[in-house]
Amino acid sequence: MAEVPVRGRFHRIAETDRPPVSITVDGAAVTAREGDSLLVAVLASGRTLRQSEFGDGSRAGFCLMGACQDCWMWQADGGRLRACTTPVRAGMDLLTRPVDETLWPLPA
């Protein structure tokens, strides 16, 4: 069966002529735009940002202003990034689930 192209969750309604930026999300190439937040970079062509660590499905951010902490993504090299307040940079290699579950330090 031919793959159905997945439309992004977010829709760009203006400012669409910015230079492209290439990143990788779960190993797949994604083209974003310079000036995108990481959250927008991922959701302009994807549907979700992360898997909840508590087994209740996927999440795609919520507050977009650095307050709810529901948009943290993982980097292939182990770090974490809050997608709504991090500007996209060419070459970012992102994951929607942690490589190592112990990376997120749960408060005691």
Partner: protein
Amino acid sequence: MAAASMTPATIPRAIVVGAGPAGVRAAETLVAAGLRPMVIDEGMLSGGQIYRRQPANFGRPHETLYGYDAEKARSLHDAFEAIRTQVDYRPETLAWNLRENVLHVVTNGVAAALPFDALILATGATDRLLPIRGWTLPGCYSLGGSQVALKAQACSIGQRPVFLGTGPLLYLVAYQYLKAGVDVAAVLDTSPFGASIRALPDLAVRPGLLLRGLRFRRALTKAGVTVANGVVPLEIEGDGEVTGLRYHAAGGGDRRIACDAVGMGFHLRSENQLADLAGCPFLFDDATGMWRPEADGDGRSPRAGIYLAGDGARVLGADAAEVGGRLAALAALADAGMSADAALVTSLRGQMATLDRFRRGLATAFPWPATLARSVADDVILCRCEAITAGTMRETAEAKGAPEVNRAKALSRIGMGRCQGRYCGHAAAEVLAGARGSSLESVGRLRGQAPVKPLSMATVKADTL
């Protein structure tokens, strides 16, 4: 009082946290008095929420971004540009703790401790939320977040969003989406229409703003958007992502609207954790059901050297934030023995009185739906951070006898997650109060804890700057 030309022996070290309307006007006032304040903001750009800026390589004009408020936005941005070299501006800097007149900040993983004589907290607000079944589904955003997508990133949160909740932001955001050409599916307000009528005498003190609200509503209705009052939201539907919303209409009957996104919010809540860490006493405000740090009319807290301004002190909106920022700075100057223009103070206090009356009107027109929060079903996720249900909170109240929210937090982890109760705290308190059969005030408030937001694990200490 000292004469205008006199300054105290030592120039007070002043820090302003927040570069929104309140913080910018506070800093401007301090600069005018000869101080060189530090201005701290975790954002990359100044402007705060309402006058949030787009990235440098975006080109939309102020008129597109801020609509009726374009002139005010320009004035605030210009004011900050004008003092840029006279303040020590620290963008991308989070103020994460405060102890004994030392503010702790972190900039890109580098920590610093900043002693101060006067600290003006102008930390703003975020959306006030309550859980609705399905609110953690991808496609559901806060109302403020929906606006941030549009304003700062020129994106809509979906092809066909529903806006749900209450408060002036509900109609504003829906209108901004409509103007941007988005197919808005519906605007669903939990407040009954009659509440707006009751609020008219107070809202009429700012006829321009009142008219603007009516205009938004009319434009939405004219465009064929369903605008309904007194709704009871039942469920945000979807298998893995938002596909619809069910609600109970005021006139009776359940309705379903197909949509791929929901923007929800129930007016705003103050960011007041730093005031809490500073030891400011808090008061319970019956009209909104929220706790707020105590301060006099000028923003002077009972804690020496701590001043509060803007939405972070009390949600009064953007114009009041500018007035409050100026008043707080003038109070700090007066307390440091520097003279303040008495006529200016009187005029600002007068403006504040009008703005406060309008705030009361808004509280009447768009009440917090406490019953909705209290009746959240047991299996609905209350804490987004750790996927903890409302039932767990009730169990904590009933089986474990938690008397107040901090004990309930320790027992249930609700409020202990990464957002530190910003998004579950108000509903959690209602659920706890409901389960105990007590008042909202009696279950207390979640205490602020450092760090006020998660710090990077790689944070290192720098020398005190």
